[in-house]
């Protein structure tokens, strides 16, 4: 039984944009929040229906009644495939849960207009396979942090520098690739430029400072929503992986491995929660890139599964930290804060989501991490050791933060700081997904395995076509756009 033949994906995008436009007129915070939750919820339902439709093999977006893309362009530029089918609803779910869990103390700093606009761009990006459109969406999406920093009257110079570098390299790489027409030198130059752009967007060392700065100056919820979906990784898979020669992938792998270990070490010595989270995120994002570089089926499956796990577990971890910030303001990791007794559930969820992100057994990330290590050991034992060391360091950093935040002398409060109903719904939803996916990993892994095979097949066919001097459809799609 398939869902109704409606272009769900387009409906989700339009709803997000309509929501952003309508909420921007509202001045009452509570009303804006209620509408924001309704819109993000509706967007999530639409993406879920689109994803279900894909897996149940119902009519595609283009074939559905009233497809706007079909009407305007004559072909669908945005659609789901094996790679993005579970990612799109996961990103929408993260936006929805973030909106639901926004406490009253955070409503002023959390802009729902920004969130819905970012959601629309994220969903479009993740549903897009056309390189030209993807490049435009990546460049546009990268403007959103600038808007947030300006709105909050925070310094923008550092981010602007990175944005210029990222967009410049992305456009240059794309332009070179379009005009390469089989020229090896131009293709190599284009690949290097795209590679550099992707590395900057992913926050690979030494181009990672924009990310820690972003977490310093923006609202925590907005910072989370911008980075957690890992748009840089998506760009790497769509733009670089299919056409990059092995040496480019090795460079990605080397830089990411160094970043993974470095960021894990840095997470261990941070004195503040947001910076700690930023480094933890960097380390995880780099591990996904490591899996891409190895380009074996097992490692790629592991990387894709880890990516999905990061969205849920690290996203959930961020939401727990945000809930704590909503109660106590920005938190230092200098002394023991003694927060356990105020909200034991938040403490449990902190550990659950944090440990899930490092692949603790029985959680969503375990099999993914195991596959990633397995793939890394196949290629190089030292790479495998570095991946394992990263996971170990991240695990220590999470428990260190737990002990610093939740243990220590408690202070009494005249106001109840226990977890609220909305936050409880959010953390329980995430707990169910993390543990359910961890205990029954086969469906998720099978889906990621199919996506990995498709990516590798595409890459293989590109190189086969090049060897035989034929033009590959991928080159054609660059030329078309």
């Amino acid at each position: 039984m398939s869902p109704l033949p409606i272009p769900w994906l387009e409906a989700a995008l339009l709803l997000a944009l309509a929501g952003a436009a309508s909420i921007s007129w509202l001045r009452n915070l509570n009303r804006a929040w209620r509408w924001g939750v309704a819109f993000t919820g509706a967007v999530f339902v639409c993406t879920l229906a689109a994803s279900l439709g894909f897996y149940l093999q119902s009519p595609t977006e283009a074939d559905a009644d009233g497809s706007l893309q079909q009407y305007l362009f004559g072909r669908p530029y945005l659609s789901l495939d094996k790679l993005n089918a579970p990612l799109v609803p996961a990103v929408a779910l993260l936006h929805f849960l973030t909106a639901v869990a926004t406490s009253r103390t955070k409503m002023r700093s959390y802009s729902l207009t920004w969130s819905l606009t970012a959601e629309a761009i994220h969903l479009a990006k993740f549903a897009c396979k056309e390189p030209g459109i993807l490049v435009v969406l990546l460049a546009t999406g990268a403007l959103l942090p600038l808007v947030e920093l300006i709105n909050r009257r925070r310094p923008t110079r550092l981010y602007t520098l990175h944005w210029i570098l990222f967009v410049g390299l992305l456009l240059a790489g794309w332009r070179l690739l379009v005009s390469a027409d089989g020229d090896a030198l131009r293709t190599s130059a284009a690949t290097i430029a795209l590679l550099a752009a992707v590395l900057i967007r992913c926050g690979v060392v030494p181009a990672h400072c924009w990310l820690t700065d972003w977490f310093e100056h923006s609202s925590f919820g907005i910072a989370l929503l911008y980075v957690i979906p890992l748009s840089g990784v998506y760009a790497a898979i769509r733009l670089v992986l299919p056409i990059a020669p092995d040496w480019v992938l090795h460079s990605i792998g080397l830089f990411s491995l160094i970043t993974a270990v470095y960021a894990a070490g840095m997470a261990l010595v941070q004195h503040e929660v947001r910076r700690f989270f930023a480094y933890l995120f960097l380390s995880h994002a780099s591990l996904v890139l490591v899996g891409l570089e190895l380009h074996t089926t097992v490692s790629l499956t592991g990387a894709l599964a880890l990516w999905f796990s990061i969205i849920l577990s690290l996203g959930g971890f961020g939401l727990v930290l945000r809930a704590l910030e909503g109660r106590f303001g920005r938190l230092a990791l200098r002394g023991h804060q003694g927060l356990y007794d105020h909200s034991p559930t938040l403490a449990v969820c902190f550990l659950l989501t944090g440990l899930a992100s490092v692949g603790f057994p029985g959680t969503l990330g375990f099999v993914a991490a195991d596959m990633l290590v397995d793939g890394a050991v196949t290629v190089n034992l030292f790479a495998g050791m570095a991946v394992v060391a990263t996971a170990a360091l991240n695990g220590i950093a999470i428990v260190r933060a737990y002990l610093l935040l939740f243990t220590g002398a408690r202070h009494t409060s005249t106001v109840s700081l226990a977890i609220g109903l909305r936050e409880r719904i959010v953390v329980l939803t995430l707990a169910v997904l993390i543990l359910g996916g961890g205990l029954f990993p086969q469906p998720g892994i099978s889906s990621r395995h199919q996506a990995a095979e498709e990516i590798l097949k595409e890459r293989q066919s590109y190189f086969d076509a090049r060897t035989k001097g034929r033009k590959h459809p991928l080159s054609a799609s660059y030329a078309v756009t």
Binding site: P155, R157, L158, L161, C209, T212, D213, E216, H217, G265, M266, V269, H271, E272, R275, T296, T297, V298, G329, R330, L331, A332, R334, G335, Q337, L339, P344, T345, F360, P361, G362, V367, D370, M371, V373, D374, V377, T378, G384, V388, A389, A391, A392, G395, I396, V399, L403, L404, T407, G408, S413, V415, L417, I419, R424, A431, Q442, I445, S446, H449
Partner: protein, 462 residues
């Protein structure tokens, strides 16, 4: 016959399902922030442990009756894709059954002790949730039929141990010690994970049956070369050393005594501290492929035993003295495994775990026991002087005393040469990054530098 085999399988599943259901039951209420009464928790714990114990005993009885030495309970193919698969499988044999029964018996005894010891303690619920996780980890690790299942149990034991050390969370000391232990455990986990993956690669299997030969324990022969066995064996030895507190990781054991006495008894006197030795026993067919590795194992075991004996001799509190006494025995057990005495090591392990648990639970009343003994004999208890003392010169004795007092300088060595430089390096990197981001921003870039070390009170925020 077929019915008996089916019954054995059913009992095997029940032995594993009991702690799983216990964790699910207590875990759900913790997640929902619903406080269960002490009575409900006690009943749930007792029901799970009794069910698990009776099921394990039933499996043992049927194995003896049927003459079966190796029973496999296959749960499911957990993950299966091209090039990668993980199965959930449990094995009942001469090694796993005694260890599982020991786990149920000791956790049952200590749970009963803990119910009185922690009566009306604020963290009663938290203690037993972690205790249930520990039980599940121990049973999983004991009965694991694949290295991945063993890793699952191994990690659960590690997490629950570290969090129980930090149980008295209002003081910073226990949480600092909990973090140190977690750090050592993570190193140990990393070594085990790496060993598991490397083994998977060498043999294409994670199942112990295929990894270590089809024969029931202790028979079997691993199909890897001596060099491969040496490399994997070193990783496994590192994992065991971390978990069992062998040199150079011995320093965490006295730190673990910060936890409540029931958890100290069952973790560091009885079960958790032996888990490393159990791992070595489980993979002993693989270890014996490399004579060099066996030599390393014996040397490490003996070194640990001697150092633990020396350190234990100068401890001034009973729990630390008992923990070092445990460690010296664990060292000897590891040496026995290295020498190939597997049954001796297994019997030693089982006996030692029971004795040490008894000593730990008597520890809070030690002074009372001493007074009773002294009253009974009418004088102070005699202090034994070893004949070795007369053979050692005064400076050597002083040196040994300092060595023992500093617990072999292992902790300070790890702190000065591993943790200190590591943290120092990253703090320097952090300082460099601060300079770099300030330069790029053209102003002070870190708002977080102005944070107070303690959180703002909610009243201030309002």
């Amino acid at each position: 016959m077929a019915e008996a085999v089916e019954g054995m399988m059913g009992l095997g599943v029940a032995a594993i399902a009991a702690p799983v259901l216990l964790v699910v039951f207590l875990g759900i209420f913790s997640l929902l922030d619903q406080r269960l009464s002490e009575r409900t928790i006690n009943k749930a714990i007792q029901a799970a442990i009794v069910t698990g114990l009776l099921s394990s005993l039933g499996v043992l009885a049927l194995m003896l009756a049927l003459g079966a030495r190796h029973v496999v309970v296959y749960v499911s193919e957990w993950v299966n894709t091209a090039g990668f698969h993980v199965a959930v499988k449990f094995v009942f044999d001469r090694l796993s059954v005694p260890f599982a029964i020991l786990s149920f018996v000791l956790t049952g005894a200590i749970a009963t002790f803990g119910m009185r010891y922690l009566h009306r303690e604020q963290g009663y619920n938290r203690f037993f949730v972690l205790y249930a996780v520990f039980l599940l980890g121990m049973v999983m690790a004991s009965l694991a039929g694949t290295i991945e299942t063993l890793f699952l149990g191994w990690e659960l034991v590690g997490l629950s141990s570290a969090l129980l050390v930090a149980f008295y969370q209002e003081r910073p000391g226990p949480s600092r010690n909990g973090l140190w232990i977690w750090g050592v455990y993570r190193v140990s986990d990393a070594a085990l994970l790496l060993a598991a993956v490397v083994l998977h690669h060498m043999t294409g299997e994670g199942d112990f049956d295929r990894l270590l030969g089809a024969g029931p324990w202790p028979a079997g022969g691993a199909s890897v070369s001596a060099t491969q066995a040496f490399i994997v064996g070193l990783l496994l030895l590192a994992a065991a050393a971390g978990k069992s507190g062998l040199v150079p990781f011995s320093g965490w054991l006295p730190r673990a005594m910060e936890g409540p006495t029931p958890s100290s008894a069952v973790f560091y006197g009885a079960l958790s501290v032996h888990l490393g030795a159990f791992l070595l026993l489980r993979v002993s067919p693989l270890l014996e492929r490399s004579p060099g590795l066996c030599v390393v194992m014996v040397a490490l075991g003996l070194l640990t035993a001697v150092l633990a004996y020396l350190a234990g001799s100068v401890q001034t509190d009973i729990k630390s003295a008992l923990s070092f006494a445990s460690l010296s025995q664990v060292g000897i057990i590891v040496a026995e495994i290295g020498l190939g005495f597997r049954y001796v090591a297994l019997v030693h392990l089982l006996g030692h775990a029971c004795l040490r648990t008894l000593q730990f639970v008597r520890a809070p009343t030690l002074l009372h026991d001493y007074h009773t003994l002294e009253n009974a004999i009418g004088e102070s208890l005699p202090r034994p002087v070893l004949p070795l003392h007369r053979l050692i010169t005064e400076p050597t004795r002083l040196w040994l005393y300092r060595l023992a007092l500093e617990r072999g300088y292992l902790d300070s060595w790890l702190r000065s040469y591993v943790v200190g430089p590591f943290v120092g390096l990253f703090r320097r990197c952090d300082a460099l990054e601060r300079g770099w981001t300030d330069f790029l921003s053209g102003a002070r870039s870190r708002e977080s530098d102005d944070l107070k070390p303690t959180p703002a009170r909610i009243e201030e925020l309002i």
